[in-house]
């Protein structure tokens, strides 16, 4: 991947841009979809969740990268987990202080970022072998890649499930005297699977090299 001729700006670009489409953590690596199912019923809570994941991912990657030469191989996983868990608690405290209303619907899911495979995956696969700046960009790229998928899923689910978006009524539902009959399946977790499935289909039709070969 990184031949000697690639310059450092190229490396930065790859670290930042690649995770958006070519190695998107959700649609290509199929990681971290637990939280996609859980928080995407409303766009507002999704945005907070995305911000939280981006913060944890970039900070973890940077921190792990800075101390990567001092982490003994035998305890590297537990060191990464400790850093991730601490950062998640800090982010959760910030949300409770500055986005209190949103901390209610997000409830346990911010805490569960600890178990999101994307974060430890990037710390172990990338930050342990790359300098801090690059690791930061890698974290940011993966965070944005994750957020793009979540925002698309949440937009579809909230709009079709309730007729509203970010609290604004776009399609007045029959319950409020309008014409739109909300699709209640969209507020249930399985609909997130369907939307991710359609996204993966669309992405693989566009970038056909992502299609796995027949075994």
């Amino acid at each position: 991947m990184s031949s000697l001729s690639t310059t450092s700006t190229d490396k930065c670009k790859i670290a930042l841009i690649n995770p958006l489409f070519d190695s998107n953590p959700i649609t290509v690596q199929i990681l971290g979809i637990c939280s996609v199912l859980a928080v995407t019923t409303s766009l507002k809570s999704t945005l907070i969740m995305c911000a939280a994941v981006i913060a944890v991912l970039t900070l973890t990657n940077t921190t792990v990268s800075i101390i990567r030469h001092h982490i003994p191989a035998s305890i590297r996983i537990i060191v990464q987990m400790t850093i991730i868990a601490s950062l998640v608690i800090v982010v959760d405290q910030f949300i409770k202080a500055y986005a209190f209303e949103m901390s209610k619907p997000l409830s346990v899911f911010v805490g569960l970022i600890v178990t999101n495979c994307i974060i430890m995956g990037r710390a172990e696969a990338f930050a342990m072998h790359n300098p801090p700046g690059l690791s930061f960009l890698d974290g940011l790229g993966h965070g944005i890649g994750y957020s793009m998928v979540l925002i698309i899923v949440a937009t579809v689910r909230e709009l079709l499930g309730t007729g509203r978006l970010l609290g604004y009524t776009l399609m007045p539902s029959v319950f409020e005297g309008g014409w739109y009959y909300p699709n209640s399946m969209m507020v249930l977790a399985p609909s997130a699977f369907f939307i991710i499935g359609l996204l993966i289909w669309a992405l693989r039709s566009w970038k056909s090299h992502q299609v796995e070969k027949d075994q």
């Binding site: 035998s74 601490s86 209190f100």
Partner: protein
Amino acid sequence: MQANVPKRKVLLTALVVSLVCSAVVTVSTILLRPIQEVNRQHYMHLNILKVAGLYQQGVAIEKQLQQLETRLVELETGEFYEMEHPEEYDQHKATKDPKQSIALLPDEDIVRIKRRADYAPVYLTRDDSGRVNRIVVPIYGSGLWSTLYGFIALQGDTETVIGIRFYEHAETPGLGGEIDSARWLKQWSGKVLFDEYWQPKIELVKGGVDHSNPGSLHQVDALSGATLTNRGVENILKFWLGENGFGPFLDVVRSSEGRL
């Protein structure tokens, strides 16, 4: 990453990482706590207004709160307890203080709270003739995983529900956690919480409420998949409307016909 690191270095790294991480967590928690406390207070006030059906969007909450008369009630006698700043009283702090609370006997303690404070806040509104027409009281107790904290608002007759809300809990999202959902909360309005002998009577029933049934005024559709949360809500109401809760106070309201 080194393959063979001396044990001392492994231990040292582990120690330093743990210390730094715990310091970061501690500092952020302590620094942010005052802001979170203000948020929590604010959110509680918002819930008091919403449960009483008084909330108006766009008006400062602290200002709206002035529509309500905040009083402290001595739970045992049901009489008002005069205090300079009743809004500063912290019921949950008092519950932990043996001087300001009583221990509940196991068979009284159906909500599993162990102790109960001697005084509790109530929030009232009055009609033009000065009679109480809204009573908001705090209620709490155990659900499945967590303690549910909420408010119930009653009409001046002390038995008809205006609304109920839970502002803090950690029940299973999607199941017991639905005690937050507007759709479930809506059906409480107009329910009657006491029987003809003024004993608390409210039931959460599975499979929907049959409105042709004469007892349906005492019934609310239970949350599906949340047996223990439902039982928690039932017990919370039974306890806080009963003799160890606001029962004596509601008696006083009734016998004075709201002029207290």
